[in-house]
């Protein structure tokens, strides 16, 4: 079971693609219709937050599972 999750607020995303650049696990893809980022592979997220740290649009949130035993 994955301990992390990631979401992109498409209202805020401006399709710059920096999350795609920095993600070591290829979590994101830019969708065809408007180039905005979609976490197509969120299950692969390792919680490194690089996407979160660089996203200039405050569009990305990385979640950590709490309450579960590690």
């Amino acid at each position: 079971m994955n301990k992390f999750d990631v979401s992109v607020d498409t209202r805020l995303c401006k399709a710059c693609g920096l999350c795609v650049l920095v993600c070591p696990k290829k979590v994101f893809e830019l969708r065809d219709e408007d180039g905005k980022s979609v976490p197509v592979n969120a299950l692969a997220c390792i919680g490194c937050t690089q996407c979160y740290q660089i996203c200039p649009d405050f569009a990305i949130t990385v979640y950590k599972k709490e309450g579960a035993l590690a």
Partner: protein, 277 residues
């Protein structure tokens, strides 16, 4: 393997900074796709969160230009002042209320162009203000004109044949004027940007963090790097860790903390010695 406690488990955001420090109702912000200002602002609010500061103890001051709009998005005491004058405004605030955390976020035009003299004198006074200079090396808001930090030879809407003038070095200027904390970072390494801003915010005196930032819309597009990814790549390849902005290495830009002087008295506190006398 499914854990039996999963029923009570929930996913929570890894950082509380956006909830606490952003005026989310004003997003999306006005900056272009791929602009570095948002990345830097993200790092600033992450540090506010780490330091445990209260929203109404932070006064966040900006001038005019792209970076000038940052104040509108921060959930603090915010002032969007006039062009080039964020630092004297911040100086007045800090002098009146030394207990406040006063942060000024400036662009390169704001900081060392129209506001250059204020920058020099804020450094000379060692006023307890953190100056984050977002250096995208161009005037973005007005459509891509040359700025004081545009590299010699670079194109802009007002240097169509390449910039004839040499560019200004923000860190050397800050050091020369007496700033007590001086550092340069770039947006290709946001976590390091955050670390250094965090040190600057805790510095008791005038702290300057120059953040090299990408403007893909103007600087990038005019100079062969229209994609922000290309610009970040350029920062990575053309910078090196150094101890001084005077250090040289294959024409690259020195990065790092160049000064961290904790002995020089901060002005808003030292002025109050006159009160006791």
């Amino acid at each position: 393997m499914v854990n039996e406690n999963d029923a009570e488990a929930s996913f929570v955001p890894m950082s509380s900074a956006p909830d606490k420090w952003l005026r989310k109702e004003h997003l999306p912000h006005i900056w272009c796709p791929g602009c570095g200002i948002g990345t830097i602002l993200r790092q600033v609010i992450e540090q506010f969160t780490k330091l445990g500061w209260k929203n109404d103890d932070v006064v966040f001051v900006t001038g005019i230009g792209c970076t000038g709009r940052a104040s509108g998005y921060v959930n603090a005491q915010t002032l969007h002042t006039i062009h080039g004058r964020a630092l004297p405004t911040a100086t007045g605030i800090k002098m009146a209320r030394p207990d406040m955390h006063v942060v000024a976020m400036l662009g390169d035009g704001d900081g060392v162009g129209i506001g250059g003299n204020h920058f020099i004198h804020a450094a000379k006074r060692n006023i307890g203000v953190t100056a984050i200079v977002v250096n995208n090396r161009i005037y973005g808001m007005t459509g891509g004109q040359v700025s004081p930090t545009t590299p010699q030879g670079s194109k802009s809407t007002t240097t169509p044949y390449g910039n004839v003038e040499p560019s200004m070095d923000v860190c050397k200027l800050a050091l020369g004027a007496g700033a007590t904390f001086v550092a340069r970072v770039h947006t290709a390494n946001p976590v390091y940007v955050g670390q250094i801003i965090g040190r600057a915010l805790q510095h008791d005196g005038f702290a300057v963090v120059e953040v090299l930032s990408q403007c893909p819309t103007y600087f990038g597009r005019f100079n062969g790097m229209p994609d922000p990814v290309q610009m970040l790549q350029w920062f990575k390849e053309n910078t090196f860790m150094a101890k001084s902005p005077e250090d040289e290495k294959e024409g690259k830009i020195p990065i790092g903390v160049f000064k961290d002087d904790k002995t020089t008295p901060e002005l808003s506190k030292s002025y109050r010695n006159l009160w006791e006398a």
